[in-house]
């Protein structure tokens, strides 16, 4: 294909790309914000890890892409890749210290340069940056040439240690809450990050586990496979049981803040499962999904809020109305867009979502919907005296909702309707030729999706106690789309994984929250190019998307005797 013009071509090319990425990450401010959290207290901060990661990654990719087989050339390319990446950053520091870039690029501050040069001024600082880049490249080169098992061990144990530092807000409370385990929390963590001894122990422990699995893992799998079917089922059921216990106990183990995070993730799971039906099963990209969420919330508000003063239902009384009106509006939205395909459908639904948002915000509908101030006083739900007041209780309400929706999704997936949706997704004309009534199938998809969304909206309204029009922006639709895509379109575990990753992580990493949309956007583009089926895809979907890549061997012609 492309002839290598020089030995260093790949190194330089990857280096330039890496340099631009590193520059952007630094100038956007991510490096500085990440710097506030330490991975290993006082020694290694998350910001440093980020920059080093980019350096090493670029070196590794450069090594991988090099077409010349000689290991020395590969190593050199890796080093060059990392050096060029670091070089860009060095240029930034040199330029930034000469001219004040701050009036344009708000993050090009002396603090940033200090961080990048590890606190040294002038030429020493630049030299240190280049030295660090060189080390990254060397490390990447070594990593590339290690045998696969050892490489996996190194990567997984180091990344796990880093993840432990990143997710310390999640891990520390869990460890502290369990009496006997509390001392572990103090051993591993201190101040802002991991302790030195804690990090070393963690790396070693995980290295041991991964090595053991690498050597013996295959035996475990064959061992499990050879168990009789009854025992296998028994193990699976046991697994479910443990999962159920964990889910039920979770809010009390995790404490208030984390339960709150769980409730938010849960709401997005609900939304995601609903949109999963419209986008994942039926293949219709609905960008105005937040409209149904808003309708569910506002119906609940109208029916329950004393501020609006029309009715005063209880939460349970309002809920069915919210869902039914949601379903109804789903059908209403579906009718005009029946004939539209692909891009047009997406934009039309986006238009609808925006219309709803504008209406809800307007003074025109203020007497009914509360206008820009919204409406408050929405009651919490309660069953037999147990009030779903705080996050730990609302969690159970949402959990129940999620289980219901997962159940319905699963049953629908394997039903005639589900298969009709998937046929429609693949090719509408053929589906119609096969006798599927497009109108009713499409409307049912919209209706079901809208119903789930309205359910989520009603719970959201009760949880917050009030509704504000600003909560219902187009971003929510985009978040939910991202969730589904990243998790895997049409796949139920995918939606849950997507929600946990895309909604849970920003909540846990406050520093990350500011760059949320940036990362979402980049993740979306990257996923579409690299892995369009998502993180936990439906097996069929994966097959479809990679169909061109799999080469089906022609069967050997059987000699006819």
């Amino acid at each position: 294909m492309t002839k290598t013009r020089s030995l260093w071509e790949h190194g330089i090319k990857i280096g330039v790309i890496g340099g631009v990425i590193a520059l952007l990450i630094a100038l956007v401010g991510m490096v500085e914000s990440f710097n506030r959290r330490d991975i290993i207290t006082e020694i290694v901060s998350m910001g440093q890890v980020l920059v080093l990661f980019v350096g090493i990654m670029m070196g590794y990719i450069a090594a991988k892409r090099t077409t010349r087989p000689e290991p020395l050339i590969r190593c050199l390319n890796a080093v060059i890749g990392s050096l060029v990446t670091g070089g860009f950053l060095a240029l930034l520091v040199i330029g930034g210290r000469l001219i004040n870039l701050r009036s344009m690029l708000v993050n090009a501050s002396p603090a940033l340069y200090k961080f990048l040069t590890l606190g040294h001024k002038g030429a020493t600082g630049i030299f240190i940056m280049l030295l660090v880049s060189f080390i990254c490249g060397a490390f990447a080169a070594v990593l590339y040439h290690l045998p696969q098992l050892i490489r996996r061990v190194v990567i997984i144990s180091l990344s796990s240690m880093i993840m432990a530092g990143v997710l310390q807000d999640l891990i520390r409370p869990v460890l502290s809450a369990w009496g006997p385990m509390a001392f572990l929390s103090d051993f591993f963590f201190t101040g802002n990050g991991l302790t030195v001894s804690g990090s070393i122990v963690l790396v070693v422990m995980i290295a041991v586990v991964v090595t053991a699995w690498g050597l013996k893992g295959q035996d475990v799998k064959t061992g499990y496979g050879s168990l009789p079917a009854g025992t296998q089922r028994g193990i699976k059921i046991g697994g479910f049981f443990i999962l159920a216990v964990v889910l039920i106990a979770l809010p009390h183990v995790l404490g208030l803040f984390l339960s709150e995070v769980l409730t938010i993730v849960g709401l997005y799971v609900l939304l995601g499962l609903g949109l999963n039906i419209v986008v994942g099963y039926a293949g219709m990209l609905d960008l105005g999904y937040v409209a149904f969420f808003a309708i569910g919330s506002y119906v609940t508000a109208i029916l329950t809020s004393p501020e609006l003063g029309f009715f005063s239902f209880s939460f349970w009384g309002a809920l069915p109305f919210a869902v039914i009106l949601g379903i109804f509006s789903g059908i209403l939205l579906g009718i005009p867009v029946l004939k539209m395909r692909g891009d047009y459908l997406a934009i039309a639904t986006l238009g609808f979502g925006e219309i709803i948002r504008v209406l809800v915000l307007s003074d025109f509908l203020r007497p009914w919907l509360g206008g820009a101030q919204g409406a408050g006083g929405i009651p919490k739900a309660s069953i037999l005296g147990y009030r779903f007041a705080g996050p730990q209780q609302i969690y159970y309400l949402i959990l129940a909702g999620c289980i219901l929706v997962v159940f319905i999704s699963l049953r629908l997936k394997n039903s005639r309707l589900g298969r009709a949706w998937m046929a429609m997704r693949e090719d509408e004309d053929v589906a119609q030729a096969m006798g599927i009534n497009l109108v009713s199938t499409k409307l049912l998809a919209f209706a079901t999706g809208a119903g789930f969304s309205a359910l989520s909206g009603a719970i959201f309204a009760s949880k917050l106690g009030s509704v504000y029009p600003h909560s219902f922006s187009v971003f929510i639709s985009i978040f939910v789309i991202c969730l589904i895509i990243v998790g895997g379109m049409g796949s139920i575990p995918g939606v849950i994984v997507g929600a946990a990753a895309l909604v849970g992580l920003p909540e846990l990493l406050r520093e990350f929250a500011e760059y949320r949309m940036l990362v979402y956007g980049a993740a979306l583009v990257a996923m579409m190019i690299l892995r369009p089926e998502g993180l936990w895809p439906e097996a069929k979907h994966k097959m479809e998307l990679h169909a061109e890549e799999t080469h089906v061997e022609a069967p050997e012609p059987v000699a006819v005797t």
């Binding site: 690029l105 891009d343 934009i347 915000l361 004309d429 789309i481 949309m517 956007g521 979306l524």
Partner: protein, 338 residues
């Protein structure tokens, strides 16, 4: 379907009649609305040509075009601010404006070019949904990238004294800046149309939008033409951005999103894939948006009708997509593509 359409027509006519008979707005008001609508519409028209050209060659909606529109003027703002501080702006307004335009168009073009190269080219053959999602992702990535780089605030464009104030044309008092916007837009659109219709490159682009495979068989460098399309779209969006910034006096990282959707509406209104259609659609949309709230919403007794301005544009979009998806001037491409 027709019931809904008919119902809306009745509402519109009723509202208009009520407003006109109430005489709340004088002739001067209406003229102001119309001029404003024309100015805003010309900006939409310029952006819409970018959408329509990309749709013509790639059959996809470049959702991120709004951000291409934003990036140019936002970057040019810093140049403008620097020139303002050094009084260069006041002493040499023409040169300054020229520089601002060049910078904005250059940046928008670069963003558009790399957008195509990185995000869209790898996905050339993929099922329709995937490039669309990528475009959405790219749109948000660009928005927040610029937010991170330049900050989240509204930046006020420096006032160019030459453009302040009014002119009297045929006895009508019009803001100078609006005249400039309308005239520049017309010039640019004429240049664009001329380019597409009269030059070899333009012909090649038209060929690629008709049939990619046949074009490549005819010796046309399809990839190159597609890049050129994005480049042209970027240039017109960058220019439109400066005009928008001069008119509304501020830039913001999110400023591209809504105009982007409205410009897309305009492109669909005129017939997607149809360049003169996009231009007409843009102007039409601008006019409706400007006159609409006062004309029919006010008559229906809706308080603060301007809040619903966006809703009018979106309703327009939905209505066009339902009733006449081929647009006013008719789509040059078949509607039902698998």
């Amino acid at each position: 379907m027709w019931l809904i359409g008919g119902f809306l027509m009745v509402l519109i006519i009723w509202g208009s009649a009520a407003t006109l008979s109430a005489g709340k707005y004088t002739g001067r008001h209406w003229i102001d609305f119309i001029i404003f609508g024309l100015a805003q519409g010309s900006v939409y028209a310029l952006i819409a040509t970018g959408y329509t050209m990309v749709y013509g060659v790639l059959k996809m909606i470049n959702f991120a075009h709004g951000e291409v529109f934003m990036s140019g003027p936002y970057t040019a703002y810093f140049v403008a601010a620097a020139m303002y501080r050094t009084d260069f702006l006041d002493k040499h307004p023409f040169t300054a404006l020229f520089v601002i335009f060049i910078v904005a168009m250059a940046i928008s073009t670069i963003i558009a070019y790399f957008l195509e190269k990185i995000a869209y080219r790898p996905l050339r053959g993929a099922p329709r949904l995937i490039p669309l999602i990528t475009a959405i992702g790219a749109s948000f990535f660009l928005q927040y990238l610029f937010r991170g780089l330049y900050g989240a605030g509204f930046q006020a464009y420096p006032t160019i004294r030459m453009l302040e104030g009014f002119w009297f044309i045929f006895g009508i008092r019009i803001l100078k800046i609006q005249v400039v916007v309308i005239l520049s837009a017309i010039l640019l659109m004429a240049a664009l149309y001329g380019f597409i219709m009269l030059t070899r490159v333009g012909k090649a682009i038209r060929a690629v939008s008709e049939d990619k495979e046949a074009s490549s068989l005819m010796g046309i460098n399809v990839d190159g033409m597609i890049s050129t399309t994005f480049v042209i779209g970027g240039m017109s969006a960058g220019a439109a951005g400066v005009l928008y910034a001069l008119m509304f006096k501020q830039v913001h990282f999110f400023m591209g999103f809504i105009p982007g959707i409205k410009a897309f509406t305009a492109a669909v209104l005129g017939g997607i894939g149809n360049i003169p259609g996009a231009m007409l659609g843009g102007i039409f949309l601008g006019l409706i948006e400007s006159i609409g709230p006062s004309l029919f919403l006010d008559g229906l007794g809706i308080p603060a009708p301007y809040q619903l301005k966006d809703a009018i544009a979106f309703t327009m979009l939905v209505l066009v997509l339902i009733f006449r998806p081929t647009g006013i001037m008719g789509e040059r491409l078949a509607v039902k593509k698998a």
